[in-house]
Symmetry: C2
Amino acid sequence: MKIVITGGTGFLGLNLARAIIKRGTMAGPSGRQEEVDGILLFDQVIPDRLPDGLDSRVTMQAGDISDRDTVFALVDRDDISVFHLASVVSGGGEKDFDLAMRVNLDGGRHVFEAARARNGLPRVVFASSVAVFGGSAMPKVVGDTTKQTPQTTYGLTKAIGELMVNDYTRKGFFDGRTVRLPTIFIRPGKPNAAASSFASGVFREPLNGEECVLPVRTDVQMALLGYRNAVAGFVGLHEAEGAAIGDDRAVVLPSGTYTVEEMIEGVKRVAAANDITLGPITVRPDPAIEAIVAGWATHSEAPRAEALGLPNDESLDRVIQDYIDDFMPTH
Amino acid sequence: MKIVITGGTGFLGLNLARAIIKRGTMAGPSGRQEEVDGILLFDQVIPDRLPDGLDSRVTMQAGDISDRDTVFALVDRDDISVFHLASVVSGGGEKDFDLAMRVNLDGGRHVFEAARARNGLPRVVFASSVAVFGGSAMPKVVGDTTKQTPQTTYGLTKAIGELMVNDYTRKGFFDGRTVRLPTIFIRPGKPNAAASSFASGVFREPLNGEECVLPVRTDVQMALLGYRNAVAGFVGLHEAEGAAIGDDRAVVLPSGTYTVEEMIEGVKRVAAANDITLGPITVRPDPAIEAIVAGWATHSEAPRAEALGLPNDESLDRVIQDYIDDFMPTH
């Protein structure tokens, strides 16, 4: 079977592809395990060469997800699954509403329509976010059955995608599942336009001996999930039987809640254990970022994920150590 | 100021226009009362002549709401408000998914974009429905803060519209409000493709001496609101101050819950009091209609509407008597 990953050369997309390569098989449209003979990583821009941990089964393609024909050409087999991760992120969506609507909403519709056009019932896993929650109606603890009241255009488009996944599934157009992600850490590489970018930067930059400038105060709380378990959530939800999910296909992934202060203490602890000298951490609040982050849920429940056996992190320190092991090999 | 009503020659649209004609003024984009000098009723098809209760301030225009240019040409002044009622209904949307998406989702976006394109902050009132609720995740009693889990494509498009109204309002693109309607009764005229059509037919056809064939069993419960108070809800929510609504702009209108048996008893009581001989009522369940109706909420709370002073019906019998007074003048 073939696996299409939109946003496939992003951090989560690449790690998902690596996990699928390691597995070798995935549940096909029939529900039976099928050998994966092709993984297509589709993204706006792609790297010059295939990243590490992938092999000849993996191809990369650059293109515009808001172009219907481009998207339909990606989903070109009936023995196929689609992971739809491509998205304008939160900060980017606040800067350009129309871009967020075109890429996230129109692009998402193209992906869903392309899957619908196949014979059989391909599995489609949509990446949503706890950014669907927010505002004055948001309870202290959010979960699978909390009303979506997004306070960013990014969150709006994710909430719409969740609703579409449910209806396309109900109609029998495809077998859809939504992974609702908390903030995923620690992302390697450079900061991005996501308002949550600092939740990786606070670990990554100091570990790399660089300065981290924090755009929020240190008592800010964030719900975080390590990238290894985020990928496990994508794979696990793809593999789950539809009947075990039910008619509301959106599943909040597990997370842990930490203050920025706890993140700083954690990186100091793990750096000391690994003999790493940290770069400096400076607090310089950015009102625009603070306003977005203040609207996010800090605590969430994940009963559906737990019932499906999707894993949570062992500890904050464990995720920091994973990052050092996975992305700082020369350390 | 000008008032645009999409779906304007439907039952609710016409009665809303009549109510605005009677008022004479509405809150303009500034919040101050302004004289209404034009009401445009836009619809897919329009009657040959202006319906009763309207005057020279009212014009009608037929067109396709899924055509962007058509919609932009309707919203051609800055001193304007838009009531967006046009919609493929529930039964129709289940028969034709793509039509529901084109008319309700794409058409809605055109309306919202057209309002956004104006200077000032026009008020936009969007007609949603308690059909945004359903499925296994739906609680026994639904309300303003219940998660939307629609089980029809109609409900999907209404939930999406609600989310968009919130975000366009948050962004300062317009001042949006969503009226979430229960089943509205008693609609005059002919049955339509809405799965809830029988909730008017059970009164209307017998009062007109005709047979009503009920597609559901008589122990089925429905949450109903009389058309007079539905119109009062539209007007009241338009007139409310934005700050009084808050950042989640969707307001469940009040309703009463009745079994079909209670509806039948009610029409018998009021018919007797008015010396009307009823046509026969026959129960002939239609599994497709029953399945849709079974997914709807039967009980709802409306705390936001109550806080804003939006009225509920005095009684079932009162709405039946209103219908006789308003639509059976020769009786």
